[in-house]
């Protein structure tokens, strides 16, 4: 981690996360990928911090050691989604800017449905102490960028799913944060809005912000500079998406009928068969005439990593 990077080191939050490292460099998008209950939200929330997380508002970047001293068990809304258990011991360290330089959009929301677009923006502005000319300039700029400028008086609750997410994003970026943390900003919105969200996210990164985005869509993660794949609270893969795809072990072959269904998955109308290294018996039985070896994409790399992880049931792998 260089001095201007944010992230977490050896972070453990029982029972949701185990020994996770994440680096969020300035000017880049870092994607956190994983299924429901993989620990994405816990990781992002810990990175963004809570009240008292960065007590000193003047200091720029701080690393805060997390220690398991105080039980978090009673924070009842902080439960692990997968196990339902309260989040407990924290260990490791978090590097983040001061609270005034963090933008955070929690899952699904981050705006007030009973306030208008403009009132929501005003609230965020007051919270982040954006005033006067700055406020005028930034709110014009953000409303313009997010296409919300034409209806400042509409209630946020009456906006479409995509517009709501854009409003939440505008609120979280009004103060030009150094670190922007977005928890599943594209879940449940239409493909066009998804594309627009990513255009916006890329622009923030281009402006020098360190952006961390949680998503369950692997095609989105491919646009990030680096990807952290979480599975069940642990890091499954981490690195640049193209490097992860390139270093996928074994071979991949598209075929109409899979040789071994436990090591194959559907891609469009065909099956993608993974031949693990050392399974020359499988490779030998492939008739290459109608079946094409293919290069791995990030999604393939993630599936392969899931299949070959030690906890994958022996039946699955041995079959």
């Amino acid at each position: 981690m260089s001095r201007s990077d944010f992230g977490v080191r050896s972070l453990t939050v029982e029972p949701a996360l185990r020994d996770v490292d994440l680096t969020a460099p300035a000017g880049a998008v870092t994607a956190v990928v994983g299924g429901d209950g993989a620990g994405k939200s816990t990781l992002l929330r810990t990175l963004a911090g809570g009240i008292g997380a960065s007590a000193d508002r003047r200091c720029s970047n701080v690393t805060v050691p997390c220690r398991a001293k105080r039980s978090l068990a009673r924070r009842n809304f902080r439960r692990d989604k997968a196990s339902g258990l309260p989040l407990r011991a924290e260990r490791g360290s978090v590097t983040r800017p001061a609270a005034l330089s963090i933008g955070y959009v929690p899952t699904g929301s981050g705006f007030y449905p009973d306030l208008t677009v403009e009132e929501n923006i005003r609230f965020a502005a007051t919270a982040y102490r954006v005033r006067g000319d700055d406020l005028r300039r930034r709110s014009e700029e953000m409303l313009g960028r997010t296409d919300l400028a034409s209806f400042p008086d509409r209630l946020a609750g009456d906006l479409s799913g995509g517009q709501r997410q854009k409003l939440a994003l505008a609120m979280a970026t009004l103060h030009e944060p150094a670190l922007l943390v977005l928890d599943e900003p594209t879940t449940g919105i239409d493909p066009v809005s998804r594309a627009e969200m990513w255009r916006l996210i890329a622009r923030f990164a281009a402006d020098g912000t360190a952006v961390v985005v949680a998503t369950s869509y692997l095609d989105e993660a491919e646009r990030a500079l680096s990807v952290l794949v979480l599975h069940d609270g642990s890091v499954l893969l981490s690195g640049r998406p193209d490097a992860l795809a390139a270093t996928t072990p074994g071979a991949l072959i598209d075929m109409r009928q899979p040789l071994d269904p436990t090591l194959a998955w559907r891609v469009g109308r065909t099956w993608r068969q993974w031949i693990p290294p050392g399974r020359s018996d499988l490779l030998a039985s492939v008739d290459l005439a109608g079946n094409h070896p293919v290069g791995a994409r990030l999604s393939d790399a993630v599936i392969v990593a899931t299949l070959k992880r030690p906890s994958a049931s022996s039946k699955e792998v041995a079959a």
Binding site: G7, T63, R74, R78, V235
Partner: protein, 366 residues
């Protein structure tokens, strides 16, 4: 259809709150209406003053529970004793015998009035009866001060818990926790608006009661406001506590109802506490509304002073201290705030400069 029914039973069984409501509510209602819900007053607290007090006392009907006999007591002493709620009836003997009745205890007063009338009819003696504090024995005079309390319960507990839970439900509470607010900013910011609304309602309802229903307002408004404030701290605290254990507005409403209903039924708002069976009467004294109603009726109808109402004020202050600090503590935990002490306990180096790390160390490849 059978599948539907089976599914519904399973859902109800898993939802412990609804189950509790389904099983506990009938039980509570049964107990309340069996033991507590009675307009008939069995015992009326009475004092006997004046030169013939000791002669009169043995001849009084059993219904009167004589708590004090004082031959030196005068009519003024009797009025004072009623104002301080030492008794509901004061019998002053002497040349001009008079029975003083505290009209702010509506049902006891009515029973006492009936008792005196009966006694006069039986003995042929006529005694002057003076009903103090609520001379017309009007129901609205007794209900309006209680309704003020009920409204404060409603705003403090129901509306506040809903407001906070909504914030949790739409996810903005998480965002507030990350915004550069102090925990106290968020907590006060969440509570003060409801406090203001409640105070406006307090003034409004009092004014409407006085103007429209001719409810007397004998005491000082400041005293009522002080009682209202202490009481609000308790109800707001309850609202916050409910919100910290509720995941959605439905759960919050359920819990709020469970705390509000016993207060309405057992606080003496509707059924007089004196007519409750002793086995449930103690519950009344645990409910904040009971104490607030004592204050509001005392101040509005009897013009009672702080000196005679010290117990209700003390009870409310104690409850406010306990409930409100518990609520703030839980709310802070919800926001993920570390207390100042915990931060200090993390000790030196709680804030460190990031150590330079080799770039490769950040790449964890499986």
């Amino acid at each position: 259809m059978l599948a539907m029914i089976r599914k519904e039973f399973r859902e109800v069984r898993r939802d412990r709150r609804t189950l509790a409501m389904l099983l506990l509510l009938p039980l509570v209602l049964l107990i309340v209406f069996g033991y507590a819900a009675s307009f008939d007053v069995e015992q009326i607290k009475a004092i006997v003053y004046g030169p013939d007090a000791e002669v009169v006392e043995p001849h009084l009907p059993d219904k009167l529970d004589v708590v004090e006999v004082d031959p030196t007591g005068t009519k003024q002493d009797g009025e004072q004793a009623l104002q301080d709620q030492e008794a509901v009836v004061a019998i002053v003997t002497g040349a001009e015998p008079v029975v003083l009745i505290d009209g702010s205890e509506l049902f006891s007063a009515k029973a006492a009035q009936a008792g005196v009338a009966q006694m006069s009819a039986e003995t042929g003696m006529t005694v002057d009866v003076e009903v103090l504090f609520n001379p017309d024995l009007s129901t609205s005079a007794v209900m309006v001060p209680a309704i003020i309390g009920f409204i404060l319960v409603f705003i403090g507990t129901v509306i506040t818990s809903l407001g906070i839970v909504r914030e949790r439900q739409v996810g903005t509470l998480e965002q507030l926790a990350v915004m550069p607010f102090r925990a106290s900013d968020v907590i006060l910011g969440k509570i003060v608006p409801y406090l203001v609304i409640a105070v406006i309602d307090l003034v409004l309802v009092t004014a409407v009661g006085v103007v429209l229903f001719d409810v007397p307002f004998e005491g000082s408004f400041a005293l009522l406001a002080l009682g209202g404030l202490l009481f609000l701290l308790v109800t707001l605290g309850l609202g916050i506590l409910i919100s910290t254990v509720s995941q959605n507005q439905g759960q919050a409403i359920q819990l709020a109802l469970m705390t509000t209903m016993p207060q309405v039924l057992l606080s003496g708002m509707v059924f007089p506490i004196d007519s409750m069976a002793a086995s449930v009467r103690w519950i009344a004294y645990l409910l904040p509304l009971t104490w607030f109603i004592r204050i509001s009726r005392g101040v509005m109808l009897r013009g009672a002073s702080l000196a005679s109402l010290w117990l209700p004020y003390l009870a409310l202050a104690g409850m406010a201290l306990v409930v409100f600090s518990m609520a703030v503590f839980r709310f802070r935990q919800d926001l993920g705030a570390r207390s100042g002490r915990a931060r200090a306990a993390d000790g030196d180096g709680a804030i460190l400069e990031p150590e330079p790390q080799p770039e490769a160390a950040t790449e964890v490849l499986s």
